[in-house]
């Protein structure tokens, strides 16, 4: 490979080949680095980031000098921050034993700076701290910045880093940004413009934790490592696709935040559209970040942008009302704390998308996501067309389409449903399911999405991160829906908590002769 062929974002991280490497047995190579978390006192840091980092340290996946600088407004000493993080790790590490002896050296790499994101002095102190860490912990000047703050602060944080010269240094500098990436197309572009003043796009890692889940990654393995599925993966054999992300919980005290976003922007625009792109994209030329993301982006750009009359028939917003779940009475969305009693926020969204390319023309992609639904489940269900001729008596009565189901959570796995002859005389058919269960085929623990994604960012692998053009493409298809929904007054609530969503969503599918699966 010539130097000019090396992706620009990889050049800085290129080290001489390590003669002691054994890629067959060792985990991926992890460079030395420091990580700076803005919003270090927040929920995400405590519930997800620190438990994930601790688990990576527990599994010896982090370098020995790895350091974290937490930044937040609350005044804390390094020791107080370490104690808070210890409590968080103990409380939120779901399947990792807390080992005080391993925590001790890990905690020595945790540091804290109190300050306001808008205060220029904070960045000078951060520069000084990073310099000290580079010298004492040999991090090679590599720094991963993680913005776990209010989205409105992203631009200020990036510009603050740039103004203090911290956005550049001896090693690589990368910036991880949590969703939402803007609240519409214009704001997504404006955010990218601000970030790009300091970090080139190749160093911006927009995190979508759905893409870090094992089954979502496994979609690529399933499709492109096996030869038998690809010939079926098109309009000729696929009748329609259903992508579901259903939650049983409500807004869990985040009503004020949630009513500004809603299911369409919170789930469909990012997670589900990205999952759809992974499921439907063309094979990439290789398994490296830009090749995979190019194909995902191309698919996103192929989704038909709906006109208002199409939006009225092919989308359904919903909002849950009070209901009973497991014998317990639960409040409706409008009764949740902090929520406007007249709120028009969608807590449920169902959309019919069409992909305008040769592979998928005419195949409906039904996406739905909602809160307070009957079951917590995320899955992709691909329904195949029936056999061209029914030759068995009574087959039409027992007709059950072939289904390929990829379960994202819980019980990650893949099932194929097909018809089989019932034992005994005559030719009576019955549907049977062939199951691949991730947990049973690979009993080892699957890393959490944050472990996968944080490690990828440290290594410099952006395959599972969302690129600017992907964000813009998904806003391009979602924004017209959002605009029309905002301009319409809906008769909410339109589904009771604990149900499968509004009846209008069933009607949306019924118009094409389909029905939602009850997973």
């Amino acid at each position: 490979m010539t130097a000019s062929a090396i992706p620009r974002d990889n050049v800085k991280s290129m080290a001489p080949p390590n003669p002691f490497q054994d890629p067959l047995r060792f985990e991926r190579r992890v460079p030395q680095c420091a990580m700076v978390i803005f919003g270090a006192n927040g929920d995400l840091t405590k519930r997800k980031l620190l438990p994930a980092l601790y688990r990576l340290a527990y599994d010896r996946r982090l370098s020995s000098g790895f350091a974290v600088v937490g930044i937040s407004r609350t005044p804390l000493t390094d020791e107080q921050f370490r104690e808070k993080m210890r409590e968080a790790v103990e409380e939120f590490s779901e399947d990792t034993k807390f080992d005080p002896e391993l925590w001790q050296p890990f905690a020595q790499g945790l540091f804290y700076l109190a300050g306001d994101i808008g205060d220029a002095d904070l960045y000078q102190r951060l520069a000084q701290k990073l310099k000290e860490i580079e010298e004492t912990r040999h991090t090679g000047g590599n720094v991963l910045f993680y913005l776990s703050t209010q989205p409105s602060q992203y631009g200020r944080a990036a510009l603050g880093l740039g103004a203090a010269g911290v956005g550049k240094g001896n090693g690589w500098r990368r910036l991880v940004v949590e969703k939402p990436f803007g609240h519409d197309l214009a704001s997504a572009r404006a955010l990218s413009d601000e970030l790009h003043q300091v970090f080139p796009e190749s160093d911006v890692y927009r995190i979508d934790h759905y893409l870090g889940k094992e089954t979502v990654q496994n979609i690529l393995a399933f499709r492109f490592a096996n030869g038998i599925f690809e010939p079926l993966w098109n309009r000729r054999y696929v009748d329609h696709v259903q992508i579901t992300a259903a939650e049983t919980i409500g807004v869990e005290g985040r009503g004020a935040y949630y009513q500004e976003t809603g299911a369409l922007a919170d789930m469909i625009q990012n997670h589900l559209v990205q999952v759809m792109a992974t499921m439907a994209m063309e094979p990439s030329a290789g398994f490296h970040a830009d090749a995979v993301r190019d194909e995902r982006a191309k698919l996103l750009r192929s989704i038909r942008v709906m006109k208002p009359d199409e939006i009225r028939v092919d989308t359904v917003p919903g909002q849950y009302g009070p209901g009973r779940i497991g014998g317990e009475q639960v409040p409706g969305f409008r009764q949740e704390p902090g929520v406007d009693p007249e709120s028009q926020t969608n807590t449920y969204a169902a959309i019919t998308f069409f992909v305008e390319n040769w592979r998928w023309a005419g195949v409906p992609f039904y996406l739905r996501s909602g809160k307070r639904l009957a079951k917590r489940v995320s899955e992709i269900a691909i329904q195949f067309k029936p056999a061209p001729l029914a030759i068995f008596d009574g087959e039409s009565d027992e007709m059950s389409p072939n289904l390929l189901i990829m379960r994202i959570q819980p019980e990650e796995g893949i099932s194929l449903k097909f018809l089989s002859k019932r034992p005994g005389a005559g030719m009576k058919l019955r549907p049977v399911s062939m199951d691949f269960n991730y947990g049973s085929a690979f009993g080892e623990r699957s890393p959490s999405a944050y472990e996968t994604l944080l490690l990828d960012a440290i290594i410099g692998d952006a395959t599972l991160y969302t690129r600017q053009d992907m964000v813009e493409a998904s806003w391009t298809v979602v924004e017209p829906i959002q605009n029309l929904w905002r301009a319409t007054k809906f008769d909410f609530p339109n589904y009771p908590a604990g149900s499968w969503g509004p009846p209008a969503a069933d009607e949306m599918l019924a118009r094409r002769g389909h029905q939602w699966r009850k997973p």
Binding site: R25, R29, S63, S440, G443
Partner: protein, 322 residues
Amino acid sequence: MAATLSPEDILRQLADTWAGLDKEGPGVLRACSMTLITVAREAEDVSSVLETLASLMPEHPARSIVVRLQRGALLAGHVTAQCWMPFGQGRQICSEQIEITASPDEIEDVASVIDPLAAPDLPRILWCRSRDVFESVGFDRLAEMASKVVLDTADWPDAQDAIQGIAATAARGVRVADLSWTRLTRWREMLSQVFESRREAARLAAISRVRVVYGGAARPVAALYMGAWLTDALEAAGVRADLSLERDASLPAEHFSTVELSGGGFHVDLTRQQERLITTVDGQSHCVSLPHATDCRLLREELGIVRHDPVFERTLSSAARL
């Protein structure tokens, strides 16, 4: 009169076992990713072998064939199912276990029974637990039907003989693994991590001395592997270093204690302290856990590699020349 054992009978028993499990309800899921053939001698604690196999099943669900060699035993076999219920799930997952008893001089006959019993189209791994079996006449027949043979030379009396024997087997085209090598993975990985840093990588050229310290009266195979791997890796980076394998009489037998690389003011060492591995680079230490390497842990790693293992093959060949 010699007993005979029909593979068809065993396959029928297998089918009956599954039919019986299915009758218990719809909650049984069958899982199989390989055939794992384990050969255990009479003197071995078979219940502990079965326990190891049972704990491997969730990660490497296999059709497990356990061959128990007992002097005077008649060739016989029976079938059981190993089932487990993953936490929080409503289905049992089951894999098959076939136990065959045979006299040690019937190994070749055993091979002819095992061959048709192996799950089709999936890898066949032979876990050969004893040196006697490895050196027996029938071993080649067992080895040639396996995709990979897993040995453990930890208690073989002469390290050099052991390595020569394994290298000769590998030269015949048998894909071999040795758990003495697998025990070194964590050590090797920690050492490798040191040189992931640009700063340390730049100092590789300064290394002029490699020291491997072990305990016990005899030199263990692991020490030879470690020495060969280190010198190979350094040579690949253009660095020639003197290797010394040193015995420390104060350490318990087969205890592998320290690996040290030094030269030009640069010093890296890895030392075991109970269940911890301490890496020290120029006086700065970093500690990770080094849990006891049980058969289960070691096999879990080896069963995950059913392909050409270039680093081990290179090391084996270099160790044979040490």
